[in-house]
Amino acid sequence: MGDILTIFKIAIKAIWVNKMRSALTSLGIIIGVAAVIVMLAVGEGTKKKISDQMSSMGSNLLMIVSGSTTSGGARAGFGAQPTLTLDDAYAIERSASHVSQVAPGVETTGQVVYGNQNWSTRITGTTPSLFAIRSWSVEEGALFTDEEVRQSSAVAILGRTVVDNLFGVLDPIGKTIRINNVPFKVAGVLKSMGQSSMGQDQDDTVIVPVTTALKRLSGSRFRGTVRNIMVQTYTTADLPEAEEEIAVLLRQRHNITGKKQDDFIIRNLTQMMESAMEASQTFSLLLAAIASISLLVGGIGIMNIMLVSVTERTREIGIRMAIGAKAWDIRLQFLVEALALSLAGGILGILTGVGAALIIKTYISGFLPIIITLYPMVIAFVFSGLVGIFFGFYPAYKASMLNPIDALRFE
């Protein structure tokens, strides 16, 4: 065996002689590697997006909403007839043992007025438990308390967007605003949360005690009923048992017996998020698998060109053998050539892929979240090397098996 450096030089030279051909041969690998890099970057981005969503929503969550109801044989859709009450929420809080927080919620939209300014926004009625679940805090003033909920106090917590539109530079704390003509005292301003992952402005909101909302704000069509009840358990493992506990409790409270259909639905939000995460992972794996088919096709292209090259250079192979090259030397030479082609393709592919990912990130990241990590690059580089060795082996073997006399006679 000649020394590896010299063999490497010979290979580079052979590739350089046919620049155009080598470039076209590597193109398959370039495209394959670039596609794998972009697909994995999108996959990574999607994973991040979902996990961000999960952490902003809070963990270990169950969401209870009204189910369908039947009256006189006509079935209404989910939530058409609110069936959950504030008392349901209190009952869950009292008797479900796996539950740490219970936050009943009502929602409406309302016109908020301060002085001569007004602003239409989303009004949420809830309890301090929601602040705990969502880890919300105030940047000014204070959150309302359980005591204020019990007393149906007319206090409101404003989001940053509402403050900016109603008060401008003025200090809102302690001021009185009117929501649908009902006066509320501003108790605090929520810390800005920015856009949600769905593009919604999370600061464009007003939070009031759920009791106050039910008693004073019209728009909740059915007095005493709530839109949903958010339940947090201590651990993820508690979720199934909590679900069971709550179902039994609510069936009992709503007088649902035997085979009668539940008039409520318990959604395991954490589980939903996890399955969304799994689905996105499966999807990005699938995309990467499709992309790697291109890598395979690129490898076949390398094999094709190497076979052509072996035929073209039969005489050269004969000369090398006559002056002392062993089969192993010839094999190594062509293998190194194939490897150099595929690795060059791999490096260019990584650059192209990262470039494409950066372009997507800059221009359409709202649509396709992108996160570029080192690990897919290493994988792609190693894989392109393996493709080179795998598809370069047969042509190299063929070259090394030539008979020197025939090879020398080859015109």
Binding site: G2, V17, R320, A322, G324, K326, A327, I405
Partner: protein, 234 residues
């Protein structure tokens, strides 16, 4: 002891049903320092014989002892190793690698016989100087005349200090003047460096540079004699 000993060599090709005997029972010895011309018409088996002596081919039957070593049963890898250490080839078509400088062409055998990098260049330059091409080491083959290309090939054949040089019709592509140049180079390598030279040719003028002429016909040695009318080159 002879450098080359072949005993009862046969080379048989199976062409269809009829076996074709290219070499029939050839036995001879060549001593170290000889200058032998192998002559014969096309199809006489002289090239096949040279390929066997040069370890590029194996005989179907018979024994071949090279430098005291019986290589009849050697593997292809072992033969390649013997070629790189003991044998230099010069071909009719020069067989230099194109787009590769004279120096790199001459360095090539040393790549395959593990001569260290720094030593390679030194020896290659020396070999090129020995054939009178010291000024043209960086020329590509297509920048050299036929005679010069053949001398690069000779430099390549001697660079590994191989004791034996095989030349297959080395002047076949050259005009008379450059043929004389090339043959003079062989003559001097034999006389001054003591190389054993085995030359295959069908031209009597070229064969006359040799000390001994072996004639083949139909796969057999028909004449093996000392050359009395030897051309003395100077």
């Amino acid at each position: 002891m002879a450098l080359i000993t072949v005993e009862n060599i046969y080379k048989v090709y199976n062409m269809g049903d009829m076996p074709l005997e290219v070499l029939k029972n050839v036995s001879l010895e060549i001593a170290s320092g000889e200058f032998v011309a192998i002559m014969g018409p096309s199809g006489s088996g002289k090239s096949t014989f040279m390929n066997i002596l040069g370890c590029l081919d194996k005989p179907t039957r018979g024994r071949y002892i090279l430098d005291g070593l019986d290589i009849t049963g050697s593997s292809l890898t072992e033969l390649a190793d013997i070629r790189s250490r003991k044998i230099g080839f010069v071909f009719q078509g020069f067989n230099l690698l194109s787009r590769t400088s004279a120096l790199e062409n001459v360095e090539l055998p040393m790549v395959y016989s593990h001569v260290p990098n720094n030593e390679r260049k030194q020896k290659a330059v020396k070999a090129l100087e020995a054939v009178g091409l010291g000024e043209r080491i960086d020329h590509m083959p297509n920048q050299l005349s036929g005679g010069q290309q053949q001398r690069v090939a000779i430099a390549r054949a001697i660079v590994n200090d191989a004791p034996i040089i095989f030349a297959d019709e080395p002047t076949g592509n050259l005009d008379t003047k450059t043929s004389i140049e090339v043959m003079t180079t062989f003559y001097k390598l034999n006389r001054d460096a003591g190389k054993t030279i085995i030359l295959v040719t069908h031209e009597q003028d070229i064969a006359n540079y040799a000390k001994r002429i072996i004639r083949f016909k139909d796969g057999e040695v028909v004449c093996d004699e000392i050359n009395n009318k030897r051309t003395e080159a100077e």
